[in-house]
Symmetry: C2
Subunit: 338 residues, 2 copies
DNA sequence: ATTAGCAGTCACTTAAAAAGAGTGCTAATG
DNA sequence: CATTAGCACTCTTTTTAAGTGACTGCTAAT
């Protein structure tokens, strides 16, 4: 348990460091905060905070910098929850107003907005398509050889894909395919569609065998195996002083580009509103200099994926969390069972 | 008209500079090429090439660097057209094999491949949707309140968008909308759809007025006003020594992000196979340090947009042009009137 | 417990010197 | 007359050294 004074000092250090990106000295702390103590006392306190593992020192004659643990303490205990301005609220509201029909569109709008408002890199991972329950399948013939498959899920997702054939398809074939697929697959998770259709093909030996096979193959390839991932504002990090060396920027962009770390995020179960992973807390050594803040996009109890941002550990957690809480709330309000 | 020897020297300078990114000295030219002349003679020749405006000199005691004009001469006269390896050919072939149905998918695959193979930033601009001729329109009801509009064009494009309604739509309404739209709009360019439908609404005063209005509005917003632009591999430029200062990288990413320069590209008319814009040749001062190489994606006489790459003027034109010629050829072969 | 004050550390800045890479010119050469 | 050896000159880059400044940690006084 930290003394009130230590808390105040830690908080001031985090906030100053987040703002300036320079190690914080006892002197500047004295100037910018009224703590009614001398710089020597601050130094003593800082030494103890360092002992406790909450602060780091780049070198002997530099000021202090929060450690990952220090940020963690800040996020858990000292954070300010209202660090969002009226302008930001208005801006976010205006962006979210657009009543996009598809989840993907909504997700895009949210990620764009998040990146714009936070100036970090935003990310979104859609729900696992394989686990979605089919509520309806429609097939539409485009021209004479292209079939469009549209799948609606109980979550409200709409997924479509095209299948091209080497021979003409007739409208009556489309009709019967429509009937078959809906009869066999309604209510099933997308991951399970192959088996019942194969069984059907074997048992009935209808003319549409090849068509059905192509359709299943294409749905697997284009919809089930494909995870929706969005990233926006990757170049924002170039504005941050910790990335003023191209190598560092490159290593960040590589991590972000590979998207490995995203997979864990969507699986992560959590009761919390907003999740904060500081440094390598989530076990990935490569992420030790970065923090990730996410929330689950849930509307009417339906999981619509995970949305968040990634940036350096020197992150404005108060602001990011305020903004994400607000966006999360708005997403819910906009979509109350309508 | 340049002497053969001057040509050879210019070529060697361009190629060495493209490879090393360092100004080329008379000495290293002597070492790496067998020109059978002394470095002093090379220096004399270089001085003349500089006078002719084909070379630049960063400072008195540095080697020479090709000027924009020098690159231009190289591209027009000295280029090697077969600078593509067997591995590259195989790789490109394997990527293009995937018989994607939609133009957008094809375009994505091509841009990804281009960025991977060239290590520059690749770009693609779809054809102007507004000018596409409608060959068919289909409407599909998804659930009870979402209408999906699918537009096929004579170019073979497939565009779809969703419209959400506040009230239920019946299947019979969908049918009559299908009939009306196809009757009125088949054969028209997308830019012209608003008027005939408005006239129709006024003259007939059917029940579907609001539905039709919503549809037209949404088609305008989501399809006609939206230009398809792809960019891939923007971070590739961070690997190039000319961008080892973050500011330069940022200025490149800003240019690329704004996409202004792309608009001119699609309009550009040209008889040539491959178009090369070196520095500010295309009139944009901001692009003076960059070059753009493009080709028109044309299949069976149909314009499917422009594809290309952007990178520093110090670009491996021989390689880029070889690769783009190959891809262009493949795109044609794969799609011969089938 | 707090603090003034000072020695000590370490990065950063500045200045000067040295090294290195190339050119341009001159004078000699075949 | 084209070519070339050779050297003076220029300009960047590297190296070295000295100096400055920002902090801390400790000690001794309050």
């Amino acid at each position: 348990m930290l003394s009130e004074r230590k808390k105040k000092i830690l908080q001031a250090i985090v906030e100053e460091y987040v703002e300036t990106a320079e190690p914080v000295s006892s002197g500047s702390l004295l100037k910018k905060n009224d703590l009614n103590i001398s710089s020597a006392t601050i130094r003593n306190e800082m030494a103890e905070l360092e002992q406790a593992g909450l602060l780091d020192k780049p070198h002997t004659s530099a000021g202090r910098v929060p450690s990952a643990q220090g940020y963690r303490y800040y996020v858990d205990q000292l954070i300010k929850e209202d660090k969002i301005s009226f302008e930001e609220i208005e801006y976010i509201k205006s962006k979210l107003e657009s009543r996009a029909v598809e989840l993907e569109e909504v997700t895009k709008i949210v990620t764009n907005t998040l990146a714009e408002v936070t100036h970090y890199t935003s990310l979104a991972i859609g729900p696992d398509n394989a686990q979605q329950i089919i509520s309806e399948i429609k097939f539409v013939l485009l021209g004479s050889r292209i079939l469009m498959a549209i799948i609606l899920t109980e979550n409200g997702l709409i997924k479509e894909t095209m299948i091209k054939f080497e021979e003409d398809i007739t409208e009556s074939q489309v009709q019967s395919i429509n009937l078959i697929f809906n009869a066999k697959l309604k209510g099933m998770p997308l991951s399970e569609i192959t088996k019942p259709m194969e069984e059907y093909i074997i048992s009935e030996m209808k003319n549409e065998i090849n068509i059905i096979k192509s359709i299943i193959e294409q749905i697997n390839k284009a919809i089930i195996e494909c995870q929706n991932i969005y990233l926006k504002g990757a170049k924002n990090i170039l504005d941050m002083p910790e990335f003023n060396e191209v190598d560092k920027a490159k290593s960040f962009l590589d991590i972000v580009d590979k998207k490995e770390f995203l997979k864990n995020l969507e699986q992560e179960e959590s009761v919390k509103d907003i999740n904060v992973y500081i440094g390598d807390e989530n076990g990935n050594e490569k992420l030790k200099d970065y923090s990730i803040v996410t929330f689950k996009h849930v509307v009417n109890g339906k999981n619509l994926g995970t949305i968040g941002i990634i940036g350096p550990t020197r992150m404005d957690y108060s602001k990011v969390i305020s903004i994400m809480k607000y966006i999360n709330k708005e997403l819910n309000n906009n979509n109350k069972e309508d």
